[in-house]
Amino acid sequence: MTMDRMLTLGTRGALAVVLVVVALMPVLCTTFFTSQVGLTSLWLGLVAVSLTFLSGYGGMVSLAQTALFGVAGLIAARLSVESGWDPWAAALAGILAATAVGLLFGAVASGSQGIYFLIITLAFAQVTYFYFAAVPTFGAHEGINGVRPPAVLGDPVQDPARMYWFLLVVSVLAFLGLRHVSRTAFGLALQGVRDDPVRMAALGYNVRLHRTLGFTLAAPVAGAAGVLSAWSNTRMSAGSISLAIAILVLTTAVIGGLNRLEGAWVGALIYTLCDTYLRGWTDRFTTWLGVVFLVIVLVSPGGVVGLLGSATSWLHSRLRGGAPPPAAPSTPAPPVPVSSGGAR
């Protein structure tokens, strides 16, 4: 018992240390690291979590999240740089536009499942990419440069601390928001639709509506990531939402683990670290990244987060002295409250 308790405390302690390091990164790490690794991991994690949510809770593996990311990012960039909008207002407009496009994409794609859903969202990604690459309003291939984030957030390259904390707060809010949704009637029903649409229809649910709204709900998350990416890099172009990036977001989410929301940021951090430090060591960077991806997918379908979970429980059972893990104590069912009105 005390051993268990110590282990639980140990796990909690390790988690607390990680959280403290993450929260204090601008103080503990160099400006380069905070800007290059910190900011990138956070916005990449944010767009990836929109996919993790759709895939993990809705069974919808979407390649269109970068398209929504681009809609918000490019519209916000365009409005603030060319039309002189206040950055916050431009961001809001961009995110609303991404949500509207998400509703449209979701309404169309919600009729399909599995590989067909993937292909339809791939088409959305491509159409959006070619649109932005062609239209001069959005800078065509050049994109929009000189995007200035709100003044309070400071300069993302010279002094990224405030920008970093802002992205961190947005990420935490997105995580908590999506986790909250997953526990509501809507979110549980979305998981029901993921598990068995035929059963859900027999229970009285409109499966297609649920899928559409789930897709719509993830859109502002991807959109916010787009805006934050434009702010962090002070630029955005069609190249930021190419097919390669769409696949990168999918890879990130899978590496982290599609079963857990936090996996998105873990995957993003791993990718960003590899991108920052491995790319210089080898000119076969992409190949190596592919190998890492393959190994993770083969070893742990739950990604790195799943792997950490299994490792922790393995450690627990080993340290308990090899005794087989006791069956989880069956929690007594909470008594059914006797209500005056709703008694059956």
């Binding site: 029903a189 598990d195 027999a202 059914v336």
Partner: protein
């Protein structure tokens, strides 16, 4: 509903469903009275499950019509029929395997009571949770509330399958081989559960197990090759030569 106390809750006319060359259900007429307990028997491939899918709206008939609770529902989808008070179980369990037993039952309660798109927890959730736990108790799953449906044993999955159909207090219940794969004692529990159902509920039951079917049912419809061949009381069915030749004589699966 004008005075006619025996107006059927379910009226099926000329129902036909073709799959390519196979006529799975052929010109079936069926009337089920309120509160009736009806068993549908017949060898494998007789078209029983297809008939259920058509009644529940999971499948669309090639021709024919279906009236439920006095309204024509032929063109309505499964979800609208569920909201009218029709519940069904599936021959092979269809559970929400990634969710707990309690969440399965909770979603079944919410599906019919409304608030399916709610993003906030409200008092209605408490009611739905209470319904879920009460149903878990009536199907004997109180100690499994926190277990993932995908982790249940076969027998428990069948119990939950019935629980999902019962939570929303349906007016009509379609059970497709609920006893399939259950042990002897589980079958007895199932029979007791079905006998204890409220008389307000109309029950339509497909069942191979004669002990269960003929104990629970007051009337029996016998199908073969998509066609209804006999309809009668359990005693009449037991005495019918065609039924014997087709079904009772053979060792059933």
């Amino acid at each position: 509903m004008t005075g006619a106390a025996t107006a059927p809750v379910l009226r099926v006319r000329g129902l036909t469903r073709r799959f390519g060359g196979v006529v799975a259900v052929a010109d079936v007429d069926l009337d089920i009275a309120p509160g009736e307990r009806r068993a549908v028997l017949g060898p494998n491939g007789a078209g029983k499950s297809t008939l259920f899918n058509l009644i529940a709206g999971a499948d669309t008939p090639t021709s024919g019509s279906i009236e439920l609770f006095g309204a024509d529902v032929t063109r309505l989808g499964a979800r609208q029929r569920a909201r009218l008070g029709l519940s069904r179980t599936f021959q092979t369990s269809r559970l929400l395997t990634g969710l707990t037993v309690e969440d399965n039952l909770y979603l079944a309660a919410v599906g019919v009571s409304g608030g399916r798109l709610r993003l906030l927890r409200t008092a209605r959730d408490r009611t739905a949770r209470e319904q879920a736990r009460a149903t878990a108790e009536s199907v004997g799953m109180t100690d499994r509330l926190a277990t993932l449906a995908g982790d249940l044993s076969h027998g428990e999955q069948r119990q939950l399958e019935i629980g999902l159909a019962l939570v929303a207090e349906p007016r009509m219940l379609l059970l497709d081989e609920p006893a399939a794969g259950l042990s002897r004692s589980e079958r007895q529990l199932l029979t007791a559960l079905l006998l204890s159902l409220d008389r307000d509920v109309t029950l339509l039951l497909i069942e191979h197990d004669m002990d269960v079917a003929l104990t629970v049912a007051e009337r029996v419809t016998m199908m073969h090759d998509g066609v209804v061949i006999v309809e009668g009381t359990p005693a009449e069915i037991r005495g019918d030569q065609r039924v014997h030749d087709l079904y009772l004589g053979k060792a059933h699966v």
